[in-house]
């Protein structure tokens, strides 16, 4: 059996951790640039504000309902995500990070009764230790676990854990799920499938997988097989472009030298760059994680991650690598045998989309030129203090200070902004 754990409204939940006053108040988190809604509390969902809704359109509704509004704060979300994954890793036999707020847990060899106990324990630990509510879907394959998770979130009777075990229940679940909600079935494919009269996940399950391969792709074929309970998908096969893109690997043998680790992560960063460009995306929040092998319990254990928020979107290898190296230096500790590392782009924007660029990347198409400019800016700022050139040169409208009007303090990553507890 495989479980998919997913944090509920992750960004909103992170904002609520240090603000008990927000527990019962509706909350939204806006995308970079405060452009659109990217995370909603259940109360906001109930108001009918859709995912991705442009902020300016819904501003009035949100204000009328006293909704707390936050700019996206990826340093905080990255830190909370790293903690979440570490806790899951310490409780589960094997796990794979799938996105900033999702992880697959391999449950093979565990009795059904114990699976439910384990999943309950993981959920309650994440709630108590971090204050992050989660949902878990369990079934025979990754695709089915994703289906189960869909129900765990939406049907209150499941109490956030849905175990799709018997064939009849799986069938029932698939019949009620529209084909577009199946993991890995994008909008284009959905249209084509619906044209062929395939409406539900159950219809998709009953297609001949070989046909699927001919008319779509190998991944399409695998999805059909997975819906039939045959595990055959790797994490790399399906990526959710709405959430995050990552490159994570276990090393063939452990690495102790910093230089080797650096070149390995640089390779991953290059791969990440390729992926971003392939999908026409860019990113400005990059998380790097490293860990030792938990299968060598006698070795000293260490796992850590670090998120860097950049002032502008990037997708060129040079800056990806540079950022990754910077993040690595924050978390690298000598004396450990590292077994796994990863790099993740936490937020994504389509290349063509008009995003607010920083002053010096006039065009996102010219990374090398802006690279040179950045070096110049860096050296000026080094000499005269951080932000000098920004404040001197940026008009108010161009300044990226204006884009984050609702940013919460960096509670977990800056000594100056620790949460305040009252002794009064």
């Amino acid at each position: 059996m495989i479980a998919l754990l997913d944090a509920n409204n992750f960004f909103v939940s992170c904002e609520r951790v240090f603000r008990p006053d927000l527990m019962k108040r509706p909350v939204v988190v806006l995308s970079n640039n405060d452009g659109c809604v990217i995370s909603r509390s259940n109360e906001v969902k109930a108001l009918g504000v859709p995912m991705g809704a442009p902020y300016f359109k819904y501003k009035e509704i949100l204000t009328d309902h006293n909704v707390a509004i936050f700019s996206s704060h990826f340093t905080l979300y990255g830190d909370m995500s790293g903690r979440m994954m570490n806790l899951i890793d310490s409780l589960a036999p094997r796990m794979e990070v799938y996105s900033i707020d999702e992880a697959f847990i391999d449950l093979s060899g565990i009795k059904d009764k114990d699976i439910e106990i384990l999943c309950n324990r993981i959920r309650s630990t994440l709630w108590r230790s971090l204050g992050i509510p989660t949902s878990i879907g369990i079934s025979k394959t990754k695709t089915l676990a994703k289906v189960a998770n869909h129900y765990a979130k939406r049907v209150p009777a499941f109490k956030s854990i849905c175990f799709l075990k018997e064939d009849l229940r799986i069938e029932h679940a698939l019949k009620r799920l529209s084909v577009g909600d199946v993991w890995g079935i994008g909008r284009q494919i959905t249209k084509k499938l619906e044209g062929q009269g395939i409406q539900t996940a159950y219809d998709l399950k009953n297609i001949d997988p070989r046909c699927m391969r001919q008319s779509f792709s190998v991944v399409g074929e695998r999805i059909v097989r997975e819906l039939n309970g045959v595990p055959c998908l790797e994490l790399e096969d399906i990526e959710d472009p709405k959430k995050s893109i990552q490159v994570t690997r276990s090393f063939s043998k452990t690495i102790t030298e910093l230089d080797e680790l650096k070149s390995t992560i640089a390779t991953y960063a290059t791969r990440l760059g390729q992926k971003l460009r392939e999908q026409g995306l860019m990113t400005k929040n990059i998380m790097v994680c490293i860990r030792t092998s938990k299968f060598r319990p006698r070795d000293p254990q260490y796992a850590n991650s670090y998120t860097i928020s950049l002032p502008s979107f990037i997708r060129d290898d040079i800056r990806l690598i540079k950022t990754a190296m910077q993040a690595l230096m924050y978390i690298y500790r000598p004396g450990f045998s590292y077994a796994k590392a990863g790099i993740m782009a936490l937020d994504l924007a389509p290349k063509g989309q008009r995003v607010q660029l920083d002053l010096f990347s006039i065009s996102a198409e010219e990374p090398s030129q802006s690279e040179k400019l950045w070096d110049a800016v860096d050296s000026v700022n080094k000499q005269y203090g951080r932000g000098t050139l920004f404040s001197a040169a940026c008009g108010k409208s161009l300044s990226w200070k204006d884009q984050k009007n609702h940013l919460s303090p960096p509670y977990t990553t800056n000594w100056k902004y620790l949460p305040i507890v009252f002794a009064k």
Binding site: F18, P20, D21, M23, K24, S71, H73, T75, D79, G82, R83, M84, N86, L87, S90, T125, R128, S129, L130, G131, K284, Y302, N304, S305, Y306, I308, S309, L310, P311, Q326, Y330, I331, Y332, R333, P334, N381, G385, R386, G387, W400, K401, Q403, K404, L407, P409, P410, Y411, T412, T413, N414, W415, K416, Y417, L418, P419, I420, V421, F422, A423, K424
Partner: protein
Amino acid sequence: MIYVHNSKNDHNLANWEREMPKGGRRRGAGRKPNTGMYRERTVAKRIPRSLAKDLEQFVSSLKGEQDESNFIAGPSVKELGPIYPSNLALPLFSSRVQAGFPSPADDYLEESLDLNQHLIKHPAATFFVRASGNSMVNVGINNNDILVVDRSLEPKHGNIVIAALNSELTVKRLCAKDNKVFLVPENPDYSMIEINEEMDFLIWGVVTSVVHQLKNATK
């Protein structure tokens, strides 16, 4: 310099505080807080000579970071790292720290001490918060102290806890008596709070240590 104590031993600490010699700090003496080069408190530390240069560079890179509006500005690459074991380990000297001159045996370095390792048992579940107010001074929690909070621990009667009470985070001693729950201050000037069903109440975490930086040592 810093002293750090575990709240387990806080009674000892309270005694220790009472036994402090007379005299000491005068109100209002010294430089006004947060006015130095870094606009916050600083500490003196012994570090290995080999690290001095790196540390100097790091500190000078922080100088430009003191702008209050910084977090509003958002993207910052140089925020302090996570609280997992740091790579700045302090050397342990073999003799105990006592008043008087250091023993010559201090020339032998035995091992490295990592304060994080000592204070943090569950890094993924540990958070730092800052205390504001004086209701807990008798357990050694002063205004502005940093508290180490382990959220993975089961809160027990007698623990110092962070509670989310009526939309605020508050630090108090947790007491359970006759099926009732109380949040008890450690200062006679404050009164205890009985938790009733109308209150929004949740125990956020258990305080394991207090970091109190002594003002007069840091100029």
